[in-house]
Symmetry: C2
């Protein structure tokens, strides 16, 4: 796991006052904004499963996503520095997407989410059943 900037206990105390960086910015909100929208957070999670991955594979991994939205999400995440795009001008041409260091550093976040998911597996399963 990566270095911690504040212990979890400090975090629990400080969150009530609002957490800000030295510059007065929120360290939590930027990511939440970057991953807004229907697909981006799931796309980032899928990308964690590969070193490099292609458009077609990602499309299979995210059932229901359209070319338009996959393209848009990839472009915006690239713009935000979370993924990188490498184009191979062969025939047929192909493109490889991969996480940047900044993107790969999201692994601890998905790890925390996974633990939450295991912890609440039953409730999640129930609400899925009952709708």
């Amino acid at each position: 796991m990566k270095s911690e900037y504040m212990s979890y206990d400090e975090f629990l105390i400080n969150i009530k006052k609002g957490i800000v960086t030295e510059d007065g910015n929120c360290p939590v909100t930027p990511l939440l904004i970057m991953l807004q929208g229907r697909w981006k957070s799931r796309l980032m999670y899928e990308m964690c499963m590969y070193e490099t991955v292609r458009f077609g594979q990602l499309k299979k991994d995210l059932p229901g996503i359209t070319n338009t939205m996959l393209t848009k999400a990839l472009r915006e995440l690239e713009q935000d520095g979370l993924i990188s795009r490498k184009q191979f001008n062969e025939i047929p041409p192909h493109v490889e997407y991969s996480l940047t260091e900044m993107g790969r550093d999201l692994l601890p976040v998905f790890y925390a989410i996974m633990n939450w998911g295991y912890q609440h597996e039953e409730e999640l399963y129930r609400s899925k059943e009952t709708g």
Copy 2:
């Protein structure tokens, strides 16, 4: 921090094969789906700052959100079991929202996000400057 269901090292190994629960479900995706949309993840983060909080306060905390969307997000998060709503039939009436246990258990997730935010503060600041 809460009990862990898999060490971080195991997580890094297993994520490449895809992580599933005993029932074959993904422990990560449900939360990502619950927090889809423009406001829900930020709303949950704001709610972490309070024991109980009212509609009007949340509206101040999320500049730009409309009554319609705040209402919709609160209803859906309540439906998903992340928050609870308590209505006081006084005059003027008021309503108190709070996190359920399941909602409060998201704190480690926001802690991980915070650490990511501190770690990449400079890059985030730069991209904010340059647009």
